[in-house]
């Protein structure tokens, strides 16, 4: 197949991807959109397959089988709660592939007579740099979310300096390569520095900010892929990579806006830098006392309320309690209680994550209230049941300028008559921030695993 014919046929996947993105922005067509994207991808692979001809076809087939099987099995098996780290993992391998392509290209181009063209070397350098950062960064994000390493920000003295030096090494070797120094080791140095940079760059970022980071790394991989397109003079890589690069950047900004944080603020360590003042705040709340209740008391409160609002957080997802919560809600509704769910935009480990989980439990969609809709209602709510949420109901975000989450819009659950918090223990949440809500006189704590607690509540409400 000629290059022209291949490029013409590549228009099919290009159009498919654009339509896919368009459809993905609307709940009614989202699934269709994803399927259209998958068909486009299949066309791109087949066209490439035919274009390459018979060279090493078996190696390509074996590689695709291994990678595809891994991807399919991992994607099928993963629980909905572990979705964010799975996305991080698939994003990382994509970035890794882009970096590997750069290594292969430099190995092919450098021995050729004459210096390589500047734009080609620039594309190689960019795809190696961004791809390797995305690969290493995504793996660290995966490890953090999978709790292989601690979710709290990891900071140390001289961090910015070390990062600066590593960045300088990476950029230095890149500049040397582009300016015509023909040494393959330069790219290896660059890739090694970029890998290190990816690790160093994600390590200090707190777990609660991870979704924004994954979204940004997603955009990075898109950019790396577009750069690979320039190396290989391949249109479909340029367009698809850049579509993802641009839409991923916009998505990252939108997510930051939902948390009232700038992207720079997420990346360069508000969580790390103010941790000392957060510790001071935590010390201040130690004096307050916590009221704990048993399930029977809470069941009575719930059953005789007029209006109950559930505030689900990641703890609900971890305990797989979304189905039990729905049962409890149904029971209460039978008793004439008005039940809704208040969903914070960043509840869970990803924006929109909680909606996915509650949809899985068949919670009727009209009962899910977004923050702007939910907040005015708390004033006339009898009981708020906070199930495994923490930072998104932390009044410090509103009141305490020293708090790392100050300024983040929250669900104002403290305006309700009574707040019941289901929580495993008094440990601070994923982000490691103390929550004065727990010390509020209106608040009662129901300690235990979220699923067990909800099941006990169901039994007790039935018994009333």
């Amino acid at each position: 197949m000629s290059t022209n014919l291949a490029n013409l046929l590549y228009l099919i996947p290009i159009v498919a991807f654009i339509v896919a993105l368009r459809f993905l922005s609307n709940p009614a067509h989202a699934r269709r959109g994803n399927q259209i994207g998958a068909v486009g991808m299949l066309v791109a692979v087949v066209v490439t397959w035919v274009k390459i001809g018979t060279t090493s076809w078996w190696a390509i087939a074996v590689g695709m089988l291994i990678g595809g099987a891994f991807g399919a099995v991992a994607a099928r098996r993963v629980k909905m709660t572990a979705m964010p780290q799975m996305v991080a993992l698939f994003n990382g391998v994509g970035g890794g592939a882009a970096a590997l392509i750069a290594l292969a290209e430099v190995h092919r181009v450098l021995p050729e007579p004459g210096a390589p063209k500047v734009d080609i070397s620039l594309a190689i350098v960019l795809s190696a740099l961004i791809g390797a950062i995305s690969f290493a960064g995504s793996l660290v994000a995966f490890a953090k979310l999978q709790e292989l390493i601690g979710g709290r920000p990891i900071t140390y003295a001289g961090q910015q300096f070390v990062n600066g030096v590593v960045l300088l090494v990476a950029v230095g070797s890149g500049v040397a390569l582009v300016s015509g120094v023909q040494d393959e080791w330069l790219l290896w140095t660059l890739v090694a520095a970029a890998l290190l940079l990816g690790v160093l760059f994600v390590l200090p970022i707190g777990g609660a900010d991870m979704p924004v980071v994954i979204s940004l790394l997603n955009a990075f991989t898109g950019l790396a892929v577009a750069a690979s397109g320039f190396e290989l003079e391949n249109n479909v890589l340029i367009v698809a990579g850049m579509l993802v690069g641009a839409s991923g950047t916009l998505l990252t900004v939108l997510m930051g806006r939902a948390m009232n944080r700038s992207i720079a603020n997420v990346l360069f360590g508000a969580f790390g830098q103010v941790s000392e003042s957060a510790a001071a705040v935590a010390a201040g709340t130690d004096g307050g006392s916590v009221r704990s209740a048993n399930a029977e008391d809470v069941a009575v409160m719930l059953a005789f309320a007029h209006k109950v609002v559930f505030v689900p957080g990641y703890g609900l997802a971890v305990a797989q309690a979304q189905h039990d919560v729905r049962q409890l809600a149904d029971l209460l509704e039978e008793k004439g209680v008005e039940v809704t769910y208040a969903i914070h935009p960043v509840a869970g480990r990803m924006p929109g994550h909680m909606n996915v989980l509650l949809a899985e439990a068949n919670v009727p969609y009209p009962q899910l209230k977004e923050m702007d809709e939910a907040n005015p209602e708390f004033g006339r709510t009898d009981v708020v049941l906070v199930v495994g949420a923490n930072d998104v109901v932390n009044p410090d975000a509103r009141n305490n300028e020293g708090s790392p989450i100050y300024g983040m819009p929250i669900l104002n659950v403290d305006q309700a008559q009574t707040v019941v918090v289901l929580k495993r223990s008094m440990n601070p949440g994923f982000a490691g921030i103390e929550n004065p809500l727990f010390y509020n006189p209106k608040t009662v704590m129901l300690f235990g695993d979220a699923k067990d607690s909800i099941d006990r509540l169901i039994e007790d409400v039935k018994g009333l």
């Binding site: 991807f17 989202a30 891994f70 592939a97 991989t221 367009v239 698809a240 939108l254 996915v356 009209p366």
Partner: protein, 112 residues
């Protein structure tokens, strides 16, 4: 086509793709942020095409074989995993429709 003509052409479509990328998702609801992130993640799996070109090139030495093969494995994992995971998420969003109707009818009964 000379190298420079090709480069100018490639830069043109790059710039158009940037604007298209912004435009096409400018009004996405928070509800869909997770699936959209996952969906775009699958689309950059197109890198597998580049990996195929590298592994399918003639006159490879051992280094090219290893790197190309690894790239194909990683790229395929990205594509297949990305699309499957997104589909699983969106499948659940679809099931919302019957639940919504059931809920509406139940509300109706309560009201009467």
């Amino acid at each position: 086509m000379s190298h420079n003509t090709l480069l100018v052409f490639e830069l043109t479509i790059l710039v158009l793709a940037i604007f298209l990328g912004f435009e096409v998702i400018s009004k996405v609801p928070t509800l869909l942020h997770t699936p959209l992130m996952s969906g775009t993640n699958a689309i950059h799996g197109i890198v597998v095409v580049g990996a195929m070109v590298v592994l399918g090139a003639p006159n490879k030495d051992t280094f090219d074989w290893i790197v190309g093969f690894l790239a194909v494995v990683l790229g395929s994992a990205n594509v297949v995993g990305g699309f499957v995971v997104t589909d699983r998420m969106l499948e659940m969003f679809k099931r919302r429709e019957p639940a919504k109707e059931a809920d509406a009818s139940r509300d109706g009964q309560n009201g009467t």
